[in-house]
Symmetry: C2
């Protein structure tokens, strides 16, 4: 395991402290990122129900999942094998049995059925039906909403986590450079996505890459009016802009980054727009240091760009790190109006002040970590609108 | 759009018929595959809440999603633009506003708040909290469980869908061949995953690939004791077996396939195991035709392999087609004991009779479509344990 057992135990301790403040005695964790964070569990098995049950009075949690995946839990976690409890395959996608019925039975068998049970009501992979079956199967329990409880524990990264994110950032840099190099008139978006994905997964000669929680987002032309379209097999045309948003991923830790490429010379408006957005981004990065709040960072952005008549109604950024599909964001602190989270050293964010419109669209981002005195961008790439106009694009750095 | 509007309307009609039989007047669809199936909507935006609302007395559904994604709905769906309703970014991952509050308000404004409302209680991306907020926001509505309602409409594929799946199958074949060619002693799993992913996304020279709903699953060595581990950056060692499970994907339609590669000569047990599993798989494929049930197919498997003392407690296969992460399976018909679904022409399944164990593990699969007289494997690859033992592996077919 890449994380030491002592670090998992420390994470458990912090989780239990948060449980205590909310009066939670048993916490049922279904978010795969939170399961991984607390145990190391890593498999593409979150498409079936699985949980980690944490007890206020037990050192180790128990893992409950599909029989076929129990060996995966043995291979990837620090848990005692007797704490890995498989449910039979007859519970999988059945209309007569539900995995949460099994969970309720286990909790009852071990005398945990009359307790205050926290559930991740609004994390991924905890369906409305999951909750309904738990309530039915545990009539004597009291349920407490524990949405994002573990996510908030994840906010400040350990030195080891920073190291993993820095490795992800190297992969992000190379993936972006490969993508930028390839984007040009006549090139198909699918081939650019393929090259990016190759680089993301292959990683470097020293260490391999992991799959990012989001595939490369590559809108081009009119599709840049919206941020979450992927790619097509249409060749790019001269005059189009192409937005590349991607992450490097290492051991499930992410470093996202976005850049915009203009095929052919940009319009005056596009040049102007990119200059304004970059000025706003730089102003934020210069401002960020421990002690300032998320909403203060957003205010700096707004002050900087409003004088040019630019407004952005979207969230400017978010905390990120360990994750699984469908999102690399942590859903805790957001850089936006009203978010009073105070930035502290070793928080890591993706700051993405994009402007999408039905006219010109420009997106540029930085992932950064808060340092003791300021912040440090994680991915080493120039902050500019990339122009591809017939000339060979120079690789900014040799690929390692 | 790749699907014609008339086909979307036909899908809507079938959906409304199912709604009627369940007494549902308004159906709220949150599963991204179901949203795509009914409208064409395609974006990596399912990490925030979004829904499609279908009314028994309206021709067109309405799409409700994040403001930034509304243009994506305009670009990718057949809906009137006035039926695309964006919610402000302040609803995104907020602890004071929930997107389902907005949905409840819209339904109230258009007079749909006192109706019988179907919700996908156990599909992906409909959290326990989503349901709670809807119930709170629509106190005069009656809620009905509509889990898998649209999934069941998807069971039989149209000729156009078969064509898309066949294109996915070509990509699957090439991705598997590239993966198999690369697996060998000293090669890192991450590099094999990278090559597979490259081939999946790039597709063919005629058409590009889409991202599959599951990343390549590549357990090796002891990790083959469980099916859902991905890859590591450790080099493969002589004597290890490597399981490759992957899909080709085209316009969100999948063709999954699995093969096992032995590095070095297989043990006698491994050879034996692979022969038995292949005999069982062939027996199933020979048996399948319209009119037989899923559980009868499973019984054929069991009869074939039990005489060798092999048992498999897992589901043998499942309906598949259009999908998004985290699963390419449709969660409807399963090839297992107790499933009485009758096979009909143009149903498409992934049949995957793998044996995972802490000793030898062997996995091989076929995706097939049911034809008028039998079944047709979709991915054209030999059914065998692939042995890599120092010799150059011959490409079975040139890559197109």
């Amino acid at each position: 395991m890449v994380i030491e057992v002592a670090e998992y135990q420390e994470r458990m301790k912090k989780t239990k402290e948060r449980m205590a403040t909310k009066g939670i005695e048993v916490l049922l964790v279904t978010d795969p990122a939170n399961m991984n964070y607390l145990t190391g569990y890593d498999g593409w098995s979150f498409y079936v129900d699985q949980i980690l049950a944490i007890f206020d009075d037990e050192e180790q949690p128990i893992w409950i999942g599909r029989t076929a995946d129990a060996n995966g839990a043995k291979v990837t976690t620090w848990l005692y094998h007797e704490n890995i409890i498989p449910y039979p395959d007859t519970y999988v996608q059945s209309d007569i049995r539900h995995p949460m019925d099994f969970v309720a039975e286990i909790l009852t068998q071990i005398g945990q059925d009359k307790r205050k049970i926290g559930v991740e009501m609004d994390n991924y992979y905890f369906s409305a039906k999951c909750f309904q079956q738990l309530v039915k199967g545990l009539p004597n329990a009291t349920f407490i909403d524990a949405t994002l409880l573990v996510n908030w524990v994840r906010l400040i990264k350990s030195p080891k986590e920073i190291e993993l994110i820095q490795r992800a950032a190297v992969i992000a840099k190379h993936s972006m450079l490969e993508g930028i190099e390839m984007v040009d008139e006549g090139v198909r978006g699918c081939d650019v996505a393929a090259k990016i994905s190759y680089t993301q997964l292959s990683g470097t000669s020293q260490y391999g890459g992991d799959y990012p929680a989001i595939v490369p987002l590559l809108p081009a032309g009119e599709r840049t009016s919206t941020p979450h379209l992927t790619w097509t097999d249409e060749p790019y045309r001269k005059g189009e802009n192409v937005i590349l948003e991607l992450a490097g991923c290492y051991k499930r830790y992410h470093a996202p980054i976005a850049r915009t490429v203009q095929i052919g010379q940009p319009t005056a408006n596009m040049k102007n727009l990119s200059n304004i957005v970059i000025e706003g981004l730089n102003a934020c990065l210069n401002f960020i240091k421990p002690g300032v709040t998320c909403e203060e960072v957003e205010a700096i952005w707004r002050q900087t760009v409003e004088k040019y008549g630019v407004t952005k109604e979207f969230r400017l950024g978010y905390s990120m790190g360990l994750n699984y599909p469908p999102d690399w964001g942590e859903h805790t602190a957001s850089i936006r109006k009203g978010d009073k989270t105070i930035l502290l050293p070793n928080m890591t964010f993706h700051l993405i002040p994009a402007i999408w419109s039905e006219g010109d669209s420009f997106e540029i981002s930085e992932s950064f970590r808060v340092t003791p005195t300021g912040c440090e961008p994680l991915v080493d790439l120039p902050r500019e609108l990339v122009i591809k106009d017939g000339m060979t694009f120079e690789k900014l750095n040799p690929v390692i």
